[in-house]
């Protein structure tokens, strides 16, 4: 008990110092510019007890999860298929890389004018943000499979299923999980971007609404919540990645 306390002491000290700094900075500037920590928490409490916050949060979560899982369901199997079909992989790789490096936000105006303001276009935005990291990293993993492994498996008359199960999957999965970690972060950006620029809902709307009403406390409270969500998701992604990285050489 004492030991864990001592080990975590720097973390708590840095947290306390950061909060103190925020509090002081907030109190010594105008309220329209920055709101101290205490008032941000107060405003957050008001938002939570007001009920609207929970609804908005669930709305965002639904968008995030739908888009992210579709990206995963499409990206990972497609990547695996590319792992197996070599000529297709060679052919399509540069395009995947290009799309991976393209700022997907640039497509939002097109999606808006083609599909309007529903839930589907927003899911599409999250999907587009998330799918390329998964695909790109899976293909990257596919490239790392040594051809000898497949040759050996073949010469022992391995069935197609066994080849997938024992060679393809174990080799590409750790890379896919790196992609998953990246995709979690990108999907979060996509979620907020969709909520800003398509129909305004969820946490994005909470921020936008607060900013339009010059409610700086509300802006800080919502950004604070999104930052916490970002950190938590990043942590989750790292845990997932490291879990699978154990068998990666």
């Amino acid at each position: 008990m004492q030991q864990t306390l001592r080990r975590n002491a720097p973390f708590w000290i840095s947290l306390a110092a950061g909060i103190a700094l925020w509090e002081i900075a907030g109190r010594s500037t105008s309220a329209a510019f920055m709101v101290p920590f205490s008032e941000t928490m107060l405003r957050l409490w008001q938002l939570v007890t007001g009920g609207q916050f929970v609804a908005q949060f669930l709305d965002s979560a639904k968008l995030f999860l739908t888009g992210f899982f579709i990206a995963l369901i499409v990206g990972a199997p497609l990547g695996l298929l590319l792992a197996r079909v070599r000529w297709l992989r060679v052919g399509i790789e540069p395009y995947i890389m290009t799309l991976y490096a393209t700022p997907m936000v640039a497509l939002i105006p097109f999606i808006l004018s083609l599909m309007g303001f529903g839930f589907v276009p927003k899911v599409l935005v999250v999907f587009l943000f998330a799918v390329f990291p998964v695909l790109y990293n899976t293909v990257e993993g596919a490239r790392s499979i040594k051809p000898e492994l497949i040759e050996v498996a073949r010469s022992f008359r391995s069935t197609e299923w066994a080849l997938w199960r024992d060679v393809m999957l174990p080799y590409t999965l750790p890379y896919t999980m790196t992609g998953v970690r990246q995709a979690i972060g990108r999907a979060l950006v996509g979620m907020v971007a969709a909520e800003f620029f398509l129909s305004s809902t969820g946490l994005g709307q909470l921020i936008m609404g607060a900013s339009q009403n010059f409610d700086t406390g509300g802006v800080f409270a919502s950004i604070f919540v999104i930052a916490i969500i970002g950190v938590a998701l990043m942590r989750l992604g790292l845990v997932i990645e490291q879990h699978f990285a154990r068998w990666r050489q």
């Binding site: 720097p10 973390f11 000290i13 840095s14 947290l15 110092a17 950061g18 329209a32 510019f33 000529w87 297709l88 060679v90 052919g91 399509i92 790789e93 540069p94 395009y95 890389m97 290009t98 799309l99 490096a101 393209t102 700022p103 936000v105 640039a106 497509l107 939002i108 105006p109 097109f110 808006l112 004018s113 083609l114 790109y136 990293n137 990257e140 490239r143 972060g185 950006v189 979620m191 907020v192 971007a193 800003f196 620029f197 994005g204 921020i207 936008m208 607060a210 900013s211 010059f214 700086t216 802006v219 800080f220 919502s222 950004i223 999104i226 930052a227 970002g230 950190v231 998701l233 990043m234």
Partner: protein
């Protein structure tokens, strides 16, 4: 991450890549796949979408008159300037903070969680706040670009500064080198590959930051050009802007990969 592999898309990097024998025979499948993708896109749009939707043939027709359009050129210059300016600020700020964080345990302990936190935060959520602080101006865009770019540089430089072999520093200090000089002549060069890796990430994020800021703040630039044209149903013209953005995204990557290979040939990041 995958620094080495990006070069695959670059014909210019070909001569430095003996480890990929299939590069020579890959041209035909690539061309075929590209043609199939374009063909599918063209077919789907022709068959099911309204006439104003961008398709390869009409986008190709739009390219010649868009790239000489002074409005388009001004918008491109505007955005690129903001990205360059923001990246320069982020580079200086990020390198200083990163070096400090990598070499001083106290600073590292205090700052680490905040840097990680800001890095994990989706950068565009700060836009409403920046629009309150800086108004709907290009200053808000610059702030967004810096915010988007700086944390990946800090994190990578700190990693690099931490990974300097201990012996180098011991030798330097036994020759009574000053701390500042050690930082400048040993730690900084050793951290340069990490700096470049961070810069590569930062450049992509900065580009996204600039485009999103232009959407949000409605200030002139490539993002706004895309937004305006797609709203007025000039999808083909708008798509030329997207192509240019994609070219910048890929271009940044290629330049950094090339720079790492060319200027830092001693650096190998165990084939990741």
């Amino acid at each position: 991450m995958s620094g080495q592999s990006i070069g695959l898309a670059a014909p210019a990097a070909g001569r430095r890549r003996p480890k990929l024998p299939l590069a020579a025979g890959s041209f035909v499948p690539r061309l075929l796949c590209g043609l199939v993708i374009l063909g599918l896109w063209e077919g789907v749009v022709r068959g099911w979408a309204p006439a104003y939707v961008a398709k390869p043939s009409t986008v190709a027709l739009a390219i010649p008159h868009v790239i000489v359009d002074p409005k388009f050129l001004a918008a491109t210059g505007n955005t690129l300037l903001a990205v360059a300016e923001g990246l320069a600020i982020a580079l200086v700020l990020g390198t200083c903070l990163g070096l400090l964080m990598g070499r001083s345990v106290a600073v590292e302990r205090f700052v680490r969680h905040y840097v990680n936190g800001f890095y994990a935060m989706p950068m565009i959520v700060v836009l409403p706040l920046f629009s309150l602080w800086f108004g709907y101006s290009s200053a808000a865009r610059l702030a967004t670009v810096v915010f988007a770019a700086v944390f990946s540089i800090i994190m990578n430089v700190a990693d690099g500064a931490r990974s300097v072999p201990r012996e180098y520093l011991e030798v330097a200090s036994s020759f009574r080198s000053s701390r500042l000089r050690m930082l400048y002549e040993i730690v900084l060069p050793a951290a340069t590959p990490y700096l470049l890796a961070g810069f590569r990430l930062a450049a992509g994020r900065a580009l996204i930051g600039a485009v999103v800021a232009e959407f949000f703040l409605a200030i002139g630039g490539l993002g706004y050009f895309i937004l305006f044209n797609s709203r007025t149903y000039h999808h083909n013209e708008a798509f030329v802007g997207v192509l240019l953005l994609a070219a910048f995204g890929v271009g940044f990557e290629l330049v950094v990969v090339w720079a790492t290979r060319h200027f830092l040939p001693w650096y190998r990041r165990e084939e990741k």
